[in-house]
């Protein structure tokens, strides 16, 4: 039992990889076995993560459940993993969404084995980013996560998949160059890649130079390199154009994970790496970041409202929601140490969870309707509530969660973000609320064109949600409701960590 507790994080991290290996042994024609093994492989980390939650001490802000094994001794880089409140929350989000994504993938019929293996690798990579406590390890997992996604989009995606997958991987990888640069700079200057030590060492540097460049310049370069890398991933306007294409062309489960988890990697990077390690630069450039975040909120909402492709509309909604997260991060950077920063970051983390749940739900429902009608064009759908009442009710619920209806998770998050950002960036908050208004506009547009209005002749014989689909979407609804009614439940996990972040 102690062995289990001592290696809990590594187990959570590598169980999917183990499942992938087992999957490789199962022949392609046994699709059923492949699916169920993959599902089991994604449920085990869920169980382990819940167990980790029970073992987690939320009254302490220190790193917990850590493991360290030397890796590159000459570089002082080790395999160092562990969790704190924020990473455990995001780990829980990931391991909750993965089984649902696998269940959604039960409708994939070609090259099932490769598909499932890629998903397992993706899960390990995403979890790795969240639990890594070593910069090199962080970078490795970050990059590894890109490859399975590329293949998932390119092989099982929609009509424009080649363009979309290439755009996704080239753009994101381009951003990660910054990550590599900054990582190397920091490692070289401080002599260690370990995140725990880096915190104190990096901030304590006063006289140092790299290749003849003064410390201030090095800091600035590393800061911007980090910012660009994470800004592409989140995405922050104007680096967002990969997202609509990638999300729209990816298979349903791929979109669920892309929107649900992968975008959070960027935000996590901001919170974990940029804010604590670059307080001076973050404060100086926070207004710019806030401006870009507000642009993401408003232009994302406007962009969503202007779409006639349902899936693309949901993709733009991700840009809109993540804009709030970045806005909160910017405010936290500008107002370090104040209660405003704390509330804003609390809201940011909660928004990450809330958006993960609601966007996964939305993409799932878009996929469900596509499977039945083979179209995503909002102008062709319509009146479906009459034929699919269960689907309609579920879609309305999830759409309201996405809209930030009070009583569901999104509102608790957005309220805290507005509260936290208002004293710091008043004008930005005002403009962001304009964006929030348009959020309502596009959500209602989606509902109106899908569910309401007269029912077209050709949709007269569609079938309502199956049991499998209800099983997939129910946890999302339940969690959204639970967090919305009682946010303290999940917030107790990361509240103290956020407070101690600076």
């Amino acid at each position: 039992m102690t062995w289990l507790t001592n290696h809990l994080v590594s187990l959570i991290l590598f169980t999917p990889l183990l499942a992938a290996l087992i999957l490789l042994l199962i022949p392609e024609r046994r699709a059923g076995a492949l699916r169920w093994v993959a599902l089991a492989g994604s449920l085990v980390p869920l169980g382990l993560a819940l167990f980790a939650w029970s073992r987690f001490d939320s009254t302490s802000a220190a790193w917990q459940l850590t493991e360290q094994v030397p890796w590159y001794i000459s570089l002082n880089a080790s395999y160092h993993v562990g969790v704190d409140g924020i990473s455990l929350t995001l780990v829980l989000l990931t391991v909750t969404l993965m089984p649902l994504a696998i269940l959604t993938s039960f409708t994939i019929t070609e090259r099932v084995r490769t598909y499932m293996v890629l998903f397992m690798i993706l899960e390990t990579a995403m979890l790795g980013v969240f639990v890594a406590l070593d910069l090199l390890l962080f970078f490795v997992f970050w990059e590894v996560g890109l490859v399975p996604m590329y293949f998932l989009i390119a092989q099982w995606g929609g009509k424009n998949r080649n363009y979309a997958s290439l755009k996704f991987i080239l753009f994101t990888m381009g951003g990660s160059l910054g990550l590599l640069l900054a990582t190397q700079m920091m490692g070289m200057l401080t002599g260690s890649f370990d995140l725990v030590e880096l915190g104190s060492r990096w901030l304590a540097l006063t006289q140092a130079s790299l290749f003849g460049l003064p410390l201030a310049t090095v800091r600035a370069i590393a800061f911007w390199a980090f910012v660009i890398a994470f800004a592409v991933k989140v995405p922050v306007w104007p680096f967002h154009t990969w997202l609509p294409d990638a999300h729209t062309e990816a298979p349903t489960a791929g979109s669920m994970i892309l929107a649900g988890v992968l975008l959070k990697l960027g935000a996590y990077g901001f919170i974990r790496l940029v804010l604590p390690l670059f307080p001076v630069e973050a404060k100086a450039f926070a207004p710019w970041l806030a401006a870009l975040a507000v642009a993401a909120v408003v232009l994302g909402a406007l962009g969503a409202w202007g779409q006639s492709d349902f899936k693309r509309l949901v993709a733009y909604s991700s840009i809109n929601h993540m804009g709030f997260v970045v806005l909160a991060v910017a405010a936290a950077g500008a107002a370090v140490g104040t209660p405003d920063a704390h509330i804003a970051l609390n809201g940011a983390v909660l928004q990450m969870v809330a958006h993960g749940l609601s966007s996964a739900g939305m993409f799932f429902l878009v996929g469900a309707i596509y499977e039945r009608t083979h179209t995503r064009d909002l102008n062709e759908l319509g009146g479906l509530y009459a034929r699919l009442p269960a689907y309609g009710s579920v879609l309305t619920f999830i759409a309201m969660a996405s809209l930030g209806l009070p009583g569901l998770a999104g509102f608790a998050a957005e309220f805290q973000i507005v509260r936290g950002v208002w004293p710091v960036f008043m004008l930005a908050t005002l403009i962001a609320l304009v964006g929030l208004f348009f959020t309502g506009a596009y959500i209602l547009k989606a509902l109106k064109l899908t569910l309401h209005g007269p029912l077209a002749e050709r949709w007269q014989s569609l079938s309502d949600l199956s049991v499998r689909e209800i099983i997939i979407v129910s946890p999302l609804m339940a969690l959204s409701l639970w967090i919305g009614i009682w946010p303290a439940g999940i917030m107790n996990l990361f509240n103290l960590t956020v407070a101690a972040l600076f």
């Binding site: 755009k167 080239l170 753009f171 967002h240 154009t241 609509p244 232009l299 406007l302 962009g303 969503a304 409202w305 202007g306 779409q307 209660p339 405003d340 704390h342 509330i343 609390n346 009146g383 509530y385 009459a386 009442p389 009710s393 309305t396 309201m400 209806l405 009070p406 009583g407 509102f411 608790a412 309220f415 805290q416 507005v418 509260r419 208002w422 004293p423 008043m426 908050t429 005002l430 609320l433 304009v434 929030l436 208004f437 348009f438 309502g440 506009a441 209602l444 109106k448 569910l451 309401h452 209005g453 007269p454 029912l455 009682w486 946010p487 303290a488 917030m491 107790n492 509240n495 407070a499």
Partner: protein
């Protein structure tokens, strides 16, 4: 008692969950669950009200309880319940109207009628064939259970809003009500007009909600709490807010937050300029219009403004100039009152008249708060809920009757057009009498009706406070109100039937008429509990129960009794009623409105609602759509940003190709190729010396040897 306060909103919520999960498609079960839940909340509310009335110091020591909810660093944001006089009074009328409307809905949706063969979910039922009946009979609503689920959710939200002790829970309930409003206006979702009306309602109120959220954030960050008692009953906090300046236009924080919160009221209570959603909301079933858009949800806006009256009036004393938010409220309220009343004149649809009437009456309340007449405003809120709900339910009964007549005769007239009606007093006597009571209350018919007392109090407050312009505007609107009310009554009930449908109407079922009667009783009697102490004669007999209950601490003293406002109020009411009857009493045509000829272009302006919707479309909606569909999606995202990306990609491509063309192929490839070619060429040339003739080889080698020897000789010797 605290527990009861917590529990009051819960039964409808449980009803919503139960109906949604277990009673879909089961009509009887769903309405019983809903009715039981409404009844339970009703009992709880009455118990609490009775308790509240019995206490002398409710204003200073309201019933309260709270619990931790949101962790914010080291502390918590608490949420809880509060029962003070305002909440108790509101709870009273909310509980009554909700219960009456729930009961009414059973009949409205034709419970017990056969299922229509051609009725589709999402469209209003249009009749079923029944053996032995003349023509068709009304059929039961296909989505019956769904209706009761949604109104239960709504009832939960309204109760929660009333009992909440902080702005956050109020906002949560506010938004959930907005959701229910959206769902219920779009109840018959297959109809494009209903679908669009629902979206319009949601989005228009959302504009106000966004501002309210800002106000909330500001209030929270400045005071560290959102609890009503901690902010609004705390003179220190109010003083600080009133004296600290915000960065916006030199307003104090109290003024700014007051304005922001008032923006929420403008949206929710459909004041100008965010009023356009309410008339369109009439697309929903009539019980929805009655409950949400007359008695409760729109009242929530005024309730909020009343709650925040201490903040809005912070720094104001009676007799002093109004604070900025108060001034804005007074102007907006009185303008809306007149504006909407005028538009109501040009409407033919029975529900639309009532919708504009609601907007107008809410304007009264808002204006009253704006001039500091807190008690008058709340009193009017109280009485208006009853008589407006009554009027809407009455109109629903009329429409029901008309539809029945239409189904029986196959007539093509619009059952909601007043000009198709006429003479219904004989066909639907109970509806007529109750509707008349409501209309008289709305017009402020002297002494007998509740509306008189509450409206008179507002007018007299305006007069006594020296707000003469407001007084005149409100008096004018009262005149117009009386006029259109009588117009409505005359066209609908008096005279003789103008269409076959009107001929064949009959009275609605008991389950629909009993709520009408109950509400009519309140429409008449409720006013007698608010008679001002200084009113001639009567004031001595009847204590000003409501005024005392609410506490006179918020408002100006009435001072000595002055006959002018009373005379004006009675005068405009009777004049309007008389004129309304006069103009329309001889109406015989189902299509021509005599006002049209009389007013000409003005009538068109009224009919077209002053073209506000068209203006909004032109100024806001179309540019926004253009911004969204063209500027953002096409120009910026695809054009500019993707253009940059594609540009980078194309540049990379071009660069690679050029490098290949300029360096790779000529140099990296070319040099070795050249070397090889050179070697080959020299080989080809040298090959020519190989003739194959041995003797030539020998000659050549001999000569070379000789040459070498000579060279050697020279070198050795030289």
């Amino acid at each position: 008692m605290q527990t009861l306060l917590w529990l009051v909103p819960l039964p409808p919520l449980i009803a919503f969950a139960l109906i949604s999960l277990f009673a879909r498609g089961k009509r009887g079960l769903s309405h019983w669950v809903a009715l039981v839940s409404a009844g339970l909340s009703f009992l709880g509310s009455m118990t609490l009200f009775a308790w509240a009335v019995g206490r002398q110091d409710l204003l200073e020591n309201p019933l309260a309880a709270s619990t931790n909810w949101l962790p914010t660093g080291g502390s918590w944001l608490r949420v809880g319940v509060l029962l003070d006089p305002l909440a108790a009074l509101t709870l009273f009328f909310v509980a009554w109207t909700v219960l009456m409307i729930f009961i009414y809905s059973v009949g409205y949706h034709n419970y017990g009628q056969p299922v229509g063969a051609h009725d589709l979910p999402g469209l209003p039922p249009h009749g079923a064939e029944l053996k032995g009946a003349h023509g068709k009979v009304p059929s039961v609503e296909p989505l019956y259970a769904r209706f009761f689920a949604f109104i239960s959710l709504f009832a939960f939200a309204m109760f929660a809003l009333v009992v909440s002790d902080n702005l956050l829970v109020l906002y949560v309930a506010w938004e959930i009500m907005g959701l229910c409003s959206y769902l219920l206006i779009g109840f018959w979702y297959a109809r494009p007009s209903a679908r669009d009306a629902a979206v319009k309602a949601f989005l228009t109120t959302r504009v106000g909600d966004m501002f309210m959220l800002l106000g909330m954030a500001a209030l929270y960050s400045l005071t560290g709490t959102l609890n009503f008692r901690e902010i609004l009953s705390n003179p220190v906090v109010l003083d600080t807010l009133a004296t600290t300046l915000s960065p916006v236009f030199g307003l104090s924080w109290a003024a700014l937050i007051g304005l922001l919160i008032f923006a929420g009221t403008i949206g929710k209570s459909a004041q100008f300029p965010l009023h356009t959603w309410l008339p369109d909301a009439m697309e929903g079933p009539t019980p929805v219009s009655a409950m949400i858009h007359a008695a409760t949800m729109v009242s929530a806006g005024v309730f909020l403004a009343a709650r925040f009256f201490p903040l809005i009036s912070a720094g104001w004393e009676a007799g002093q100039p109004l604070t900025t938010p108060m001034l804005v409220m007074a102007v907006v309220g009185s303008f809306t009152a007149l504006f909407a009343a005028l538009i109501a004149l040009g409407q033919r649809d029975i529900k639309r008249v009532l919708a504009y009437s609601t907007i107008s009456q809410l304007g009264y309340m808002v204006a009253a708060l704006g001039i500091g007449a807190y008690g008058a405003a709340v009193f009017h809120l109280f009485t208006h809920a009853f008589f407006k709900a009554l009027l809407f339910l009455g109109s629903g009964s009329v429409i029901h009757g008309m539809e029945h007549g239409q189904l029986a005769t196959g007539d093509a007239a619009d059952p909601q057009d007043m000009f198709s009606m006429g003479g219904l007093r004989k066909k639907m006597p109970v509806t007529f009498l109750t509707f008349l009571a409501g209309a008289l209350a709305l017009s402020g018919f002297p002494l007998l009706t509740a509306g008189f007392w509450s409206k008179d109090e507002i007018l007299s407050s305006a007069f006594h406070g020296n707000h003469l312009i407001i007084f005149i505007v409100l008096a004018l609107s009262a005149l117009v109100t009386a006029f259109y009310s009588m117009r409505q009554v005359t066209l609908t009930f008096l005279g003789s039937p103008r269409t076959p449908s009107a001929e064949h109407t009959h009275e609605s079922k008991v389950v629909m008429t009993v709520p009408l009667v109950v509400l009519a009783v309140f429409a008449i009697a409720a006013g007698w509990f608010g008679v001002p102490g200084s009113f001639l004669g009567l004031g001595a007999f009847l204590p000003n129960f409501i005024g005392n209950f609410l506490g006179g601490t918020h408002e100006a003293e009435a001072g000595a009794f002055n006959a002018t406002p009373l005379l004006v109020s009675v005068g405009v009411s009777l004049t309007g009623l008389f004129l309304g009857w006069l103009v329309h009493r001889k109406q015989s045509s189902p299509s021509i409105d005599p006002l049209k000829r009389g007013l000409g272009f003005v009538y068109t302006a009224l009919e077209r609602k002053f073209w506000v919707d068209e203006a909004y479309d032109l100024v806001f909606i179309r540019p926004a759509k253009f911004l969204a569909e063209t500027v953002t999606s096409v120009w910026i995202d695809r054009g500019l940003l993707d253009g940059i990306l594609h540009g980078i990609g194309n540049f990379g491509n071009w660069f690679g190709r050029t490098l290949r063309r300029v360096i790779d192929i000529p140099v990296a490839n070319g040099v070795p190729d050249g070397a090889a070619a050179g070697a080959r060429w020299s080989g080809l040339k040298l090959r020519l010396t190989q003739s194959g003739h041995v003797q030539q080889y020998l000659v050549t080698s001999l000569m070379l040897v000789v040459l070498a020897g000579l060279v050697l000789l020279l070198v050795l010797n030289g």
